[in-house]
């Protein structure tokens, strides 16, 4: 078998780096993109472990057997490597309660998923009893949700910020299942090689990225300093919110409804990000989403990356070319007096539908999935961040995911929610206006100060509709 062919076959089995595949694929021409497309599934499938699932102990949960024989349908994650793991988990629930659960796979894209939920719930469909919802949706889906406060209280103490985010007019729309926060990843081997440390400020990061990039380009002319998510989509809202909050630039819309976007610190933060494009970051970063950034970084072609916690277990998997050379920590802060570390809050919650024919069984399932033992297993096997504070001090979790300890303060104080609760069902309008403006700024189509002033008007118009 030729070298090229071998690489492509390895790619299909998830054994080759993206870069080597693209090189090989370039040699065979048109087959390239297909090969690249195959990579994603391959890389991810390596992450699964089952130690956590094997150690699952449900005895403390007191799951009810009152709903034995009832059948519910639940929408969980998209089709992917976690399916077998989730099915095994759900089987344990059925075994303990007698409730039969049909797991429905939702769309991969969050936007598609929300549209599907809105259609189902808008039609008051009884087909679905519970579903996982994004941290920015409680305001949108609140009219269709059962109150889960009692179920959550039975489970223990969750992070207050996330609970507050999920509470709309006194109703708990979803129990936090796992959480997410923007993190800075770096190549620990390179940071050490050039005698640098973890960047404290954005200026540190820029200098470090430049040093490493210039050094590494002698051998790898395509090496990049810093990759992140710059495409015009929800992910850019997350990145840009971190830039402005870390620079003391406010939260786009404050919890009291004030539109605070038009301030010099936010404008400075956007101008700073614009200066990365084409210097420490590739010009194409303005079209990158999470997996584009991870593709470049995990194949050893970038020094720093902004991404979510899921990237950790993938970067440390056995087939990763940067395994053991990975550092992760808080994103840098700005320079001003109000500068602070900031990480955008992400994550998923379990919601029970108001239109369910078996509401008690649905609530029981939500309680099970978000309970401490399940979150522990999820953290150990999939590096999913727990929403229960105590798990960040849990020995088994910390052994599997040593960086979790450092993240606890992020959720206790730092994780920044997007302005989704205050903008309720108009959040997508707010986010669209925001990421569109920021994308136009970082691609150089608009002047930051002028564009932010226009954005302020747009946001005020949207908020006036509430």
């Amino acid at each position: 078998m030729s070298e090229t062919k071998k690489t492509l076959v390895n790619a299909m089995n998830g054994k080759a780096s993206r870069r080597s595949v693209l090189k090989a694929a370039a040699a065979v021409g048109v087959a390239a993109p297909f090969a690249a497309g195959m990579l994603q599934g391959g890389i991810q499938s390596a992450a699964a472990g089952e130690d956590g699932l094997a150690a699952l102990d449900l005895s403390g949960l007191n799951l009810s057997k009152d709903y034995d024989g009832q059948e519910i349908s639940v929408i969980l994650g998209a089709d992917g490597p976690a399916v077998a793991w989730e099915e095994a988990l759900v089987a344990k629930f059925t075994e303990a309660t007698g409730i039969k659960v049909n797991v429905v796979r939702g769309p991969e894209s969050a936007t598609e998923r929300l549209a599907q939920y809105q259609q189902l719930l808008g039609a008051q469909a009884t087909d679905v009893d519970a579903m996982m919802i994004d941290v920015i949706w409680p305001g949108i889906l609140a009219p269709h949700a059962l109150d889960l406060t009692a179920a959550m209280d039975a489970n223990g103490q969750y992070f207050e910020r996330i609970v507050a985010n999920n509470t709309v007019d006194g109703t708990l729309v979803g129990i936090p299942w796992y959480t997410d926060a923007g993190l800075l990843y770096w190549r620990s081997d390179l940071v050490e090689k050039y005698g640098l440390g973890q960047p404290e400020t954005w200026a540190d990061l820029e200098a470090a990225a430049k040093t490493i990039m210039e050094g590494e380009r002698a051998e790898n002319p395509d090496f990049q300093g810093f990759v992140w998510q710059g495409a015009a989509y929800e992910g850019l809202t997350c990145d840009a919110l971190e830039w402005q909050v870390s620079n003391g630039g406010g939260h786009i819309i404050e919890p009291d409804g004030t539109v605070s976007i038009n301030n010099p610190s936010a404008i400075d933060a956007f101008n700073r990000a614009k200066s990365w494009v084409g210097t420490i970051s590739p010009e194409g970063v303005t079209t990158y989403k999470e997996e584009d950034a991870r593709g470049v970084w995990q194949d050893g072609n970038a020094a720093f990356m902004r991404n979510w916690p899921y990237a950790w277990s993938l970067a440390q998997a056995d087939d990763s070319v940067i395994k053991g050379k990975v550092g992760v920590g808080l994103l840098p802060k700005g320079d001003g007096p109000d500068a602070q570390n900031a990480a955008t809050l992400g994550g998923w919650q379990m919601m029970a539908s108001k239109y369910s024919e078996h509401p008690e069984a649905a609530i029981e399932f939500c309680r099970f999935l978000t309970s401490e033992p399940v979150q522990r297993a999820h953290a150990i096997d999939w590096s999913r961040l727990p929403t229960i504070e105590a798990l960040y001090d849990d020995a088994a979790v910390l052994e599997a995911q040593p960086f979790f300890g450092e993240l606890k303060p992020v959720f206790l104080g730092g994780a920044v929610p997007r302005p989704s609760t205050v903008s309720a069902d108009l959040y997508n309008d707010v986010s669209t206006a925001y990421f569109t403006a920021v994308n136009e700024i970082i691609t150089g189509q608009a002047d930051a100060a002028e564009r932010v002033a226009a954005l302020e008007t747009e946001l005020k118009d949207i908020m006036a509709e509430l």
Partner: protein, 317 residues
Amino acid sequence: MSAISDVLPADQPPILNMKGGNKPTSAVGRRQERLAWIMLFPSLLVVAVVALYPLFETFRLSLTNTRLASAREPRYVGLENYTDLLTDPLWWSSFQHTVQFTVISVLIETVLGMIIALVINSNFKGRGLVRAAILVPWAIPTVVSATMWQWMYHDVFGVVNDMAVNRLHILPDKVAWIANPSTALWSIIAVDVWKTTPFMALLLLAGLQVIPGDVYEASTVDGANRWQQFWQITLPLVAPALLVALIFRTLDAFRVFDVIFVMKGYATETMSVAVMARQTLIDKARLGEGSAIAAAIFVCISVLVVIYTRLIKIEEA
């Protein structure tokens, strides 16, 4: 209604006349008219259910501020959605991109398609194979080919930059084809041309094949050169097929969604009107405003259809 009268014997008067001029007076004529309506009914019903009703519904929604799955009470807002749309700079920039995309891509596709059709219409060895091979880009689903091109255009690892900078040395530096706002729309047009030229070539080939060979023989005898033959014989005779192909392509191009959505998402510098409609309808869940955009697209398409059908009538006359 011409389809019905076409299949009837030539001496029968037209049974259905939309202008209501020639009402059938005889009992036979009336019976036949009734029969025609009965037989038309199922197809009219299907058209009404799958086309007219959704269209009507779209227009109705466009006069309200309905939102998807919202607790808000929908309200009649008159033409407000339309006046808002016409004063929205995003609509006009999207409209401009759509027109630019349509005119340029259809123009290039027509010229290239004609050249390819002329080549594969001539006699050479392996013609069947070439005809089949040329259709490959058209056979690939747009979502797949757009993703494929996205990788080929990749600013750091893409084949296009590798070829242009490292191998052929036609460019000094790598270009972020999709990310750079000044090259993005052109890159997308190139993908559409790559994909759709074969379709154009195929339709034109069908038109070329019905031109009888003796016309060319006669003109050769008269001393016409190849160039004159093309302008005087080929082009006029292929014109009906060309017009049909242009209608297909123009309407298709004006509704462009997939290739732009896959490659650029909601970036404003390449947004087409269909992408804007989707963002408003699905992402923002604004059924009212989104329906107004859909209705506006419908009006634009209708104008194009009227223009083209006029052209065909002139052609036929």
